[in-house]
């Protein structure tokens, strides 16, 4: 473990990514204590430019709502959606991939065709359809993003499992009569975890982007403010008020960048072939 942190912290991209992510989490968790008001509240006259009033440092939007408050509350939604929908994707994708890879044959064929069925549909289009059918809400959005992002997980896990199940220690476990579930869970999956973790960190970033895109198109949860919603709502007034779109846009950019950097750092730290000290 210490080894992991040392490698992780040695890569500058990992450090920067971690800093951004920790900052975003702190803001999301602690921010609302400094902004007890709802971000939907009209606090000032509309279209106050940024850096002119101390009370609304980042200006106000078309209805006079505080852009900074929106950013902070939006961070909660974006991070929450990113994490939870990734979790959903893992919960679906990992077992499917593991079963397909471990049992092979017809089971593998069936499961992989099923996965490919999802992979052939453009994920964003599918997400739009799902959210539109289920009525936009935070639950339908998480479910939709989770449902469109599990196929890569399943394929990755299947590949890992395929190569691991021919190893001697797995065969030894088979010979000693361990149950299949036990072998997958205790022997194979722990060793297949590193690439999955890297992929998951990137999936959180993708999920945040997906949520923003959905909200941008007006398919966000109408009761929760999110960065994508802010960009979408400000888009039409961009000529009069650039700040309404630019600040949440930058927030999306930074958090997605941060997560990608973390992913890169994780890859360096967890990939034995790249490990500087060898094992």
């Amino acid at each position: 473990m210490r080894q992991f942190w040392r490698t992780m912290l040695r890569s500058p991209s990992g450090i920067i990514g971690l800093i951004i992510l920790v900052l975003a989490i702190v803001i999301a968790v602690a921010g609302p204590f400094y902004f007890p008001n709802s971000p939907w509240r009209m606090v000032q006259r509309p279209f106050v430019p940024p850096f002119t009033l101390a009370k609304v440092p980042l200006g106000t939007d078309a209805l006079g709502r505080d852009v900074l408050a929106g950013l902070i509350f939006g961070a909660r939604v974006s991070l929450l959606v990113g994490l939870v929908s990734t979790l959903v994707a893992l919960v679906v994708g990992v077992p499917l991939g593991a079963i397909a890879g471990y049992f092979g044959g017809r089971v593998d064929d069936a499961l992989m065709r099923f996965t490919e069925f999802f992979q052939t549909i453009p994920s964003f289009a599918l997400a739009i359809v799902l959210v539109a059918i289920l009525q936009p809400s935070i639950y339908s959005i998480v479910a939709a993003i989770g449902l469109v992002s599990w196929p890569p997980v399943a394929r990755l896990v299947r590949g890992e499992v395929l190569s691991l199940r021919t190893r001697e220690y797995v065969q030894a476990a088979v010979v000693t009569g361990q149950s299949n579930a036990w072998i997958i869970w205790r022997e194979i999956l722990p060793n297949a975890l590193s690439p999955v973790i890297v992929l998951a960190s990137l999936m959180v970033a993708t999920a945040i982007l997906l949520e923003s895109s959905l909200s941008f198109l007006g398919l966000g949860d109408p009761n929760l403010i999110s960065w994508g919603y802010m960009v979408g709502a400000g888009r039409t007034v961009i000529r009069q008020a650039w700040w309404i779109t630019v600040f949440p846009g930058v927030a999306i950019l930074l958090s997605v960048l941060g997560l990608n950097l973390i992913g890169e750092g994780l890859n360096d730290a967890l990939n034995p072939r790249l490990s500087r000290e060898g094992r």
Partner: protein, 515 residues
């Protein structure tokens, strides 16, 4: 700030129009039409854009001033019998259709018969008519079953367009080839329609008003994107942006462009009034105090100034102030959150969840929904916004599956034509988007509206409508928001475009271009 600038522009335009200038002849005007109309045969297609284009090709018997007084149209004079049952119209002499055939009373009789089949609103407007006769070529006499006050208000071009008998009689109306190249008596003749691009109409050289129209041609440009329409105006590709062509927030910017004039006039006949349906069937909203609390809780001045950029007017009750028999003598609901909270407490409201359905008509309505939600939450109500598209929202309203829902409706100049339908018990029916959707029922209101529609004199009608407005404003069956104004933006060089209560819809008759 924005408001003041806008006001300045409006006043400025008013002044320049007031200085009677000599109209100049000639020139071409480009106007935006949004969205592209599904057809131009006004007797069969009733969409807003159809009315706007075809109102300049067809004509009705009467036109209406911004105060909704009848003006001569194809009828040059009219008399009403003392018992208010016989309406006699004298038609103008020497009027011809665009193909040269004369317009006579036979066309009027035919039009009425045709409209009864093809035009739902005209059919309803005509139910009180016992018979229509044409004693001679230039006289038409309507005899009513009983006095019907609003009758004089149903002859507007969109409500009762005159159709050429010689082209439609005995044909299948739906497949008549003239539907694609409509022939009317109006100041402009249909010339060509490049689908998705423009509709072109040219001056009618034989128009019955001597010297009119002044313009040679009018192009209705079809531009599907709101931002592109604004740009087209900026670059000078179009000269006229009718109400609703561009998003509200763009109105102040575009109005301030050099050479741009803006006016809210020209919608008096329609007088769109916005409100929120409050589902009176919901046990919480069934309580009058809760409904009144909602009225006090909503900051309607904010909505007017910020969301509608200062255009429009805070509604006082069921009637818009621009239609007949409007009464100001009703209980008022200024923005007063404290009072709203007190009323909610009295009503015993404990934060039960109320669902709100915004209107999915674009940015403005979305923002309005957000603002109202915040207003209501500020006084302690729990509001959940339901996200939906236009058909989905309509479906929910038609099935009464909502608690609060935004809407706006036209009023057609008279309470009997556009107001009573939203409050009388007989207008409650599942599956309709308009009329009494909220489920409010009050026998006294029913009685007063019936009285108002059929009372023989205007004084008697006023009496009934004054009373009913007071009762409704007290009861708050729905939460009235704003009298909407859809600003028309033009290049200032386009003069006298809006002179009547239907604005651009029959405006090009008098319009001229200052070169």
């Amino acid at each position: 700030m924005l408001k003041r600038v806008l006001l300045g522009v409006v006043v400025g335009c008013g002044l320049s129009a007031a200085q009677a200038e000599e109209p100049k002849t000639g020139g071409v005007v480009n106007a935006v039409i949004q969205p592209e109309p599904p057809g131009l045969m006004l007797a069969m297609v009733q969409n807003g854009p159809t009315q706007m284009v075809s109102g300049n090709i067809f004509e009705g018997l009467l036109r209406y001033s911004p105060k909704l007084e009848p003006l001569p149209g194809l009828a040059e004079s009219w008399t009403i019998s003392p018992d208010a049952k016989v309406y006699t119209f004298k038609l103008k002499k020497g009027v011809t259709w665009h193909d040269g055939k004369p317009f006579t009373s036979a066309d009027v009789l035919f039009s009425i018969e045709m409209l009864k089949q093809t035009h739902a609103r005209a059919r309803n407007n005509l139910v009180m008519v016992e018979k229509v006769e044409a004693p001679d070529d230039l006289t038409v006499v309507f005899t009513l079953k009983e006095p019907f006050g609003p009758f004089i208000g149903i002859f507007e071009v969109g409500s009762m367009p005159m159709v050429p008998k010689h082209l439609y009689e005995g044909t299948d109306y739906k497949t008549n080839p003239n539907n694609n190249a409509p022939v009317g008596t109006g100041p402009f003749m249909f010339k060509e329609w490049q689908k998705g691009s423009f509709i072109r109409m040219v001056k009618n050289p034989n128009y019955h008003e001597k010297g009119k129209p002044y313009l040679d041609e009018v192009y209705w440009q079809i531009i599907p994107d709101a931002a592109a329409r604004a740009v087209a105006f900026e670059t000078g590709k179009v000269d006229v942006l009718p109400g609703g062509s561009i998003e509200n927030f763009d109105v102040p910017r575009v109005s301030k462009l050099p050479g741009a004039c803006v006016t809210g006039a020209g919608w008096e006949f329609f007088s769109p009034l916005s409100w929120m349906w409050l589902n009176n069937r919901n046990p919480i909203l069934a309580n009058k105090k809760v409904r009144q609390a909602i009225m006090y809780a909503i900051d309607r001045d904010f909505a007017k100034d910020v969301i509608w950029n200062g255009l429009g007017k805070v509604a006082t009750g069921p009637s818009a102030s621009t239609i007949k028999f409007y009464s100001d003598d009703v209980p008022k609901y200024p923005y007063d959150p404290a009072k709203a909270k007190a009323l909610l407490k009295e009503a015993g409201y404990k934060g039960e969840k109320i669902r709100m359905l915004p209107l999915a008509y674009g940015e403005t309505w979305q923002r309005w929904g957000e603002a109202v939600k915040q207003n209501l939450q500020d006084v302690g109500m729990t509001i959940e916004t339901i996200a939906t598209d236009v058909p989905g929202g309509n479906q929910k309203i038609m099935e009464w599956d909502y608690d609060i829902a935004f809407t706006y409706l036209y009023q057609y100049g008279d309470p009997a034509l556009g107001v009573s339908r939203n409050y009388i018990t007989s207008a409650i029916a599942k599956g309709q988007l308009f009329n009494n959707v909220e489920g409010y029922s009050n026998p006294e209101v029913d009685k007063l509206f019936a009285e108002g529609a059929t009372a023989p004199t205007d004084a008697k009608r006023k009496e009934a409508y004054d009373k009913v407005q007071k009762i409704l404003a007290e009861d708050v069956p729905v939460a009235w928001l704003l009298e909407l104004q859809f600003p028309t933006i033009t290049k200032c060089k386009v003069k006298s475009l809006i002179t009547t209560g239907i604005g651009v819809n029959d405006g090009f008759r008098d319009a001229w271009l200052d070169k």
